[in-house]
Every structure is written in C-alpha cells, then in structure tokens.
C-alpha cells in the first residue's frame, strides 16, 4: 500500500505542537501556547496565522483590561486534519 503524504501544514514542529495543545483544551491564550511550546512571540504569531488561514484554528483578538488578548481554538476542519495526520503517521510507523 502506498503511503499517504503528510500534511505539510502540520508537519512542522511548532505548528504541530500548537495543534496538539489545542486538541486537548477548549481554548488557549497566546501566552499559554508560547510558554508550553517554548517559542518566540514572533515565530508563534506567524505560525498561528498560517494555521488560521488554513482554517485549522480560529483566532479571537479581544482585550483583557488594557492588554490585548489573543485566544485560539481548534476548528472542526483542524481536528479532522489533525486526525488524518496522526493516522498517516501510524502508517509510517507501522510500516
């Protein structure tokens, strides 16, 4: 059986990290994702935009007092992509 290709959008350390975190929670703030993935704000922000453009996550920008607040959530589409990615991974590993 031919191996399926891995979704390049997910096949990157930071984006995969973010998606795995969002898989397990209801929603997470930018600072939480930054802390857990050990990334820089600039890089994280770029990767979040990529995931959002693909429709994998939604990004909500609000304010907490005077501070800007960015909250991310995984979408149904993102969940499906993540599941497909994991299933494809299983094929690689099972081979």
């Amino acid at each position: 059986m031919a191996l399926k290709d891995l979704d390049p959008l997910l096949h990157s350390q930071l984006r995969l990290g973010v998606m795995s975190l969002l898989m397990s929670v209801e929603s997470a703030e930018f600072t939480y994702l930054k802390e857990k993935t050990n990334s820089t704000a600039g890089n994280l922000s770029v990767q979040l935009d990529k995931l959002s453009e693909a429709g994998y996550i939604t990004i909500e920008k609000t304010f907490k007092g005077k501070k800007p607040l960015t909250t991310c959530k995984i979408t149904k589409h993102g969940l499906k992509a993540f599941e497909d990615y994991v299933n494809t991974l299983k094929q690689y590993i099972g081979k």
Partner: protein
C-alpha cells in the same frame, strides 16, 4: 500541497520524522492535561454558608418561636453573588480552559439550577427540600473528586448519598442538624484538605 516524508532525509533538516512527530504530540497533550483548576474556595464558602444556615434554622426552630426560621437560607444569596464575582475574577487570570474545566463548571451550574427548582416546587414535595438537595449534591461533589483525582471529595459525595437517604426518614427539625453535619463532612473537610494540597 502535500509533501512526502522520508524519515532518513528528515533527520538532517528541521522537519520531523514520524517518531519525533508522535513524541511531540504526546508531550504536548501531556502538558495540557492535569490543568484542571483546583478551587477549594467554593467548597469553603458554600460549606460554611450552608452549615450556618442549617444550624441557624435548627436553633431557631428548637429554642425560639421565630415565625420564619427558614429565612436563614437567605444567606445563600450573598454566597451566590460572591461565587459569581470570584469566578469572573478567576476567569480573567486563567490562560487556558480545558474540556474538564467546562464540565466541572456546568455540573455545578446544573446542580444550582436543580436546587432553585426544588425550592420552587417545595410544596409539591412536602417541603422535603433538604433531603433532595443533599442527595442531589452527592453527584457534583463526587464528579469533582473524579475530575480533580481527589479522593476526599469522592468520599464527600458518598456522605451526601448516605445523608440524603437518612434525611427522608427523620423529622423536619432534625433534618437541619443532620444536614449541617453532612455539609461539614462532605464540603468543609475535603475543602480544607483541598486547600492544603493547593499550597
């Protein structure tokens, strides 16, 4: 749009091989787990409120001829307000919300709605409000114990199931005394233990 993955080649650049991918996913999911907020605050606030209200009603019935001793339960109104303010403040400091946090919150809100309902229909259930409320409170308490993986709260739930059953068979005035004991055992004792574990 999709790329092939050659594990051997990938080792030499920044992308991941399948095992690294899986490790990453597992470690991130593990990070996100165990994030359920512990909060002994509600157990202590409500524990004391209900204990004082119940003891107050018992004392007023037994030793005075106050017309409406049940007004002691008006104490639950400020307690409800304090809970609401506290939870809004808490949600401002939290950076992540897990599914378990949501379940935890809604199990208690659901219980609160049930309590209001029981009070409203009090007459139709022969004013057996205390037995019903105490028995009902076993479930959210037990479930909170499961969510927090905190056994004393699970035992608290068991106390309420037992006390709820007993309450149906004792005279009205004694129900308030037993309820106060049940709440002290089921809320306050685990509440203080939880508080200790939070430090």
């Amino acid at each position: 749009m999709f790329v092939s993955l050659n594990p051997d080649m990938e080792k030499h650049n920044e992308t991941l091989n399948p095992h690294q991918s899986l490790d990453l996913i597992t470690s991130m999911i593990r990070q996100a787990k165990g994030n359920v907020r512990k909060s002994s605050f509600y157990f202590l606030l409500w524990g004391w409120t209900i204990v004082i209200a119940n003891l107050g009603v018992y004392i007023l019935i037994r030793f005075t001829d106050v017309k409406n001793p049940f007004l002691m339960f008006a104490l639950t109104i400020p307690a409800g307000l304090i809970s609401a303010i506290y939870s809004v403040r808490q949600s401002k400091t939290q950076t992540v919300s897990t599914h378990l946090d949501q379940i935890h919150k809604w199990v208690w809100i659901g219980y609160g709605i049930n309590c209001v309902l029981v009070v409203v229909v009090g007459k139709s259930i022969s004013w057996m409000i205390n037995p019903v409320i105490i028995a009902m409170c076993a479930m959210p308490t037990f479930i909170t114990g499961v969510i927090l993986k905190f056994k004393p709260l699970m035992w608290g739930g068991v106390v309420f199931w037992a006390a709820g059953t007993v309450l149906f068979f004792v005279p009205m005035a004694d129900q308030f005394l037993i309820s106060a004991f049940a709440i002290a055992l089921g809320y306050l004792v685990p509440g203080y233990m939880l508080r200790k574990s939070e430090k």
